[in-house]
């Protein structure tokens, strides 16, 4: 594989095929209420068999060496189906690690070698996603570090073997560290969540052994945050589209007052507005993929903007999906509420609307 558009389409299609068979929304309904909250067999299938984790890892580190869009396409396919677990967070962490340069190569080599699933832990109580307020401490030097602190609302940690963590060393410098979930001093407590398709964990670190992933003097923590936002944006744009499709399909077949309700102009116009929003979200997400691929300097700006736009779009589409489905959309067995809850988690994770909007304005120089 060389990463042509055809390769990309093939990768997307093969992942979609697996997901349609093993991880459709009906299956997600079952998985999300189970004890683990994700499907270990699916994780195994996509990683060990489909080689998902090596997709964009450079060849000299054991990966397939494909470019960014291969990984983002998979994140989108996972997002469209609201697949729970650490698959999207793994790809996100891998993309971030790639962007961190040579210092992250040992981690990437290990990911392929040991088939490691990953999560990214940024938020802390009080600080939220404000990197400047990060209080987790890293002590040590070179390759040997010990981390102490508590990270909250961490997605994917329930299914990840390694967690990337932001922490501050004794010099006050913020860095990115990799912690093995199984290491001493690591306590992961996974919560039940409003958005049942995305469990969130509290990760407590007490002198936990860690390796540093980013190069000193860089903006590794920011790279991580930007990629988490990118994940939320891509997932949300894809989910918004899937949710609109679901709704439009329903409106075409559901009859009331003797005709398909999709023929009522008031509903048609609302769907048209949703289609415009979805097209905009998709374009914004696509642009972000280009930004990540080319390593453009606008990464932080574009990721913040896309997360804002795409999460809001998903929320709008999903809220309308419930309303337009009427009573059935209010039932637990229907899928509409899964998108709705996903929309809210995408809005509230990785920075509130107000915080992210302020960042966008500052980064745009307004």
């Amino acid at each position: 594989m060389t990463g042509t558009p055809e390769d990309l389409a093939e990768i997307r299609a093969s992942v979609a095929e697996v997901l349609d068979g093993q991880a459709d929304l009906r299956r997600t309904h079952e998985v999300m209420v189970g004890e683990r909250g994700y499907d270990p067999l699916l994780h195994e299938l996509l990683t060990a068999e489909l080689g998902l984790l090596g997709l964009v890892v450079p060849e000299h580190l054991g990966g397939l060496g494909l470019d960014v869009p291969a990984a983002t396409a998979v994140i989108e396919e996972l997002g469209a189906r609201l697949v729970p677990g650490a698959l999207a967070t793994s790809l996100t962490a891998i993309l971030a690690a790639r962007a961190l340069g040579p210092s992250a190569e040992p981690l990437l080599a290990r990911v392929v070698d040991e088939q490691l699933t990953l999560a990214v832990a940024l938020a802390e109580d009080g600080a939220g996603w404000d990197l400047g307020q990060t209080a987790t401490r890293a002590t040590g030097a070179g390759d040997e570090w010990a981390l102490t602190g508590t990270k909250t609302v961490v997605p994917g940690a329930e299914a990840a073997r390694v967690v990337l963590v932001t922490a501050r060393n004794e010099g006050g410098e913020l860095g990115v560290y990799a912690v093995d979930r199984a290491a001493d001093g690591v306590d992961v407590r996974t919560h039940m969540t409003l958005d049942q398709t995305r469990r969130l964990s509290t990760v407590r670190l007490r002198e936990a052994a860690a390796t540093r992933v980013d190069a000193p003097g860089g903006d590794g923590a920011r790279v991580l945050l930007d990629h988490v936002r990118a994940m939320l944006a891509l997932e949300s744009a894809a989910a918004a589209r899937a949710c609109l499709d679901l709704t439009v399909d329903y409106l075409k077949v559901r009859e009331q007052f003797g005709r398909p309700i999709g023929s009522f102009q008031a509903l048609k116009h609302r769907c048209a507005d949703l289609a415009v929003a979805v097209a905009g979200a998709r374009a914004t997400a696509d642009h972000l993929v280009t930004t990540l691929r080319t390593g453009a300097a606008t990464r932080s700006h574009d990721a913040a903007l896309a997360k804002l736009v795409c999460a809001d779009t998903l929320m709008t589409v999903a809220a309308e999906a419930i309303q337009l489905h009427g009573g059935i959309g209010f039932t637990f067995e229907h899928h509409a509420h899964l998108f709705f809850k996903r929309g809210k988690s995408a809005q509230l994770l990785a920075g509130s609307a107000a915080a992210v909007r302020a960042e966008v304005a500052a980064l745009a120089g307004l």
Partner: protein, 386 residues
């Protein structure tokens, strides 16, 4: 209950009674039930209905011969205000008192009134509403549940859905098609059906909150006495539309007291967690306050001009307003919480903000969706062509 009392006396009386009643065994019932919490404390709330009935607080303004009690419109409003203010439990008897009772008073035979109304005012009978059907949604004229007359009984077969409290109710008022060849509004009848019989099966619907408030009700050769048909055979549409009109305005102001309590709680939370310092959230909170003020003024104005409660049109405006408002407040409640709102208790146990956020999505769907209300307002208030 003797001579008329002044509004002040009335308020003092209900307030005093509630204060006393909600101590002791009913103290636990405070705050239970209501929107999104209909699954809570059934037994206690059933007992509470009887307690309320024994004290004469059910059937305000109904004739005393049926256990009612004289009360002016203002006093009915006062009752609902004080009830909400005290945090008294969500009424299991809501549909009995607000929907069926007025329907029987308007359309029932003397025998039907004598038989059913006293058991409503005493808090003994709980009624549920059998209107919506799968596949018919807001289109009541699409009812397909059939009732076939056999001698002095109707034999009912079909399915209803979105029937709240069906698993607790003693009776159900059901819209059935008695003329098998009929379509749309014609050929429907309004039957009173006992729930405790072999032909009736209730299956709870699990909502997006994970809890159950609504049910599916299956009628498989269930029976209803012909003498328990309200209105003439084939006139069920007229009777049912009358019932919809009885969603009276007097409870609106009480409902708004409840809204204000919720809004105050969200604002208090925003103040304590710092969200109030966030201008965009603060503006949304202030706008919610303003929206509630507008609803309050609207309700006062409509009650003042309508005298006897809301007409269908005014009810449509009011429904659209409050449903949309409450849904927005639900979203605001979780936005104020921030990412912490994403964590639930074990077993998907939701807090107030989360429940409000999720359950309020139903507000704009049930009881005539926003879309139906807009149709009504456009066609009947504004006179726009069909």
């Amino acid at each position: 209950m003797g001579a008329p009392v002044s509004d002040e006396q009335f308020r003092a009386e209900i307030r005093g009674w509630l204060r006393e009643a909600l101590t002791g065994p009913f103290a636990e019932a405070v705050g239970t039930g209501g929107e999104g919490r209909e699954h809570e404390a059934h037994e206690l709330r059933r007992e509470w209905e009887r307690h309320l009935g024994r004290a004469g607080w059910i059937g305000l303004s109904w004739p005393t011969e049926y256990g009612g009690r004289p009360a002016t419109l203002a006093q009915q409003v006062i009752f609902h205000e004080e009830y909400a203010r005290a945090g008294a439990p969500g009424r299991l008897g809501h549909m009995s008192e607000q929907l069926l009772g007025p329907t029987l008073l308007a359309f029932g035979t003397p025998e039907q009134k004598a038989r059913f109304l006293p058991r409503i005012t005493s808090g003994e009978d709980i009624w549920c509403q059998g209107y919506s059907e799968p596949g018919a949604g807001s289109d009541l004229a699409g009812v397909r549940t059939r009732a076939e007359r056999r001698g002095d009984h109707y034999v009912i077969t079909g399915q209803k859905v979105w029937t709240s409290l069906a698993h607790l109710a003693d009776w159900c008022f059901v819209l059935c098609r008695t003329d098998p060849g009929s379509t749309r509004h014609a050929g429907l009848s309004y039957l009173l059906v006992p729930m405790n019989q072999p032909g009736v099966t209730v299956r709870p619907i699990t909502q997006l909150t994970g809890t159950s408030e609504f049910n599916e009700v299956f009628f498989d050769e269930a029976v209803a006495a012909v003498e328990h048909r309200v209105g003439a055979e084939g006139e069920g549409w007229k009777v049912a539309m009358g019932t919809l009109g009885f969603e009276r305005g007097v409870s609106t102001l009480g409902q708004q007291i409840g809204f204000r309590r919720r809004l105050d709680a969200v604002i208090a939370r925003a103040r304590s967690n710092g969200a109030w310092q966030e201008p965009a959230l603060r503006d949304r909170l202030v706008d919610a306050y303003i929206g509630l003020e507008v609803m309050r003024h609207s309700a006062v104005r409509l009650l003042a001009s309508a005298g006897e409660g809301l007409s269908g049109l005014e009810a449509s405006i009011s429904k659209l307003q409050w449903a949309t408002w409450n849904r927005s407040l639900g979203e605001l409640a979780v936005d104020v919480e921030g990412a912490g709102a994403l964590l639930t208790g074990p077993g998907y146990e939701l807090d107030d903000a989360q429940t409000h956020f999720l359950f309020s999505r139903a507000n704009t769907i049930y009881g005539g969706s926003n879309e139906i209300q807009r149709n009504i307002i456009a066609e009947r208030l504004l006179g726009l062509p069909r």
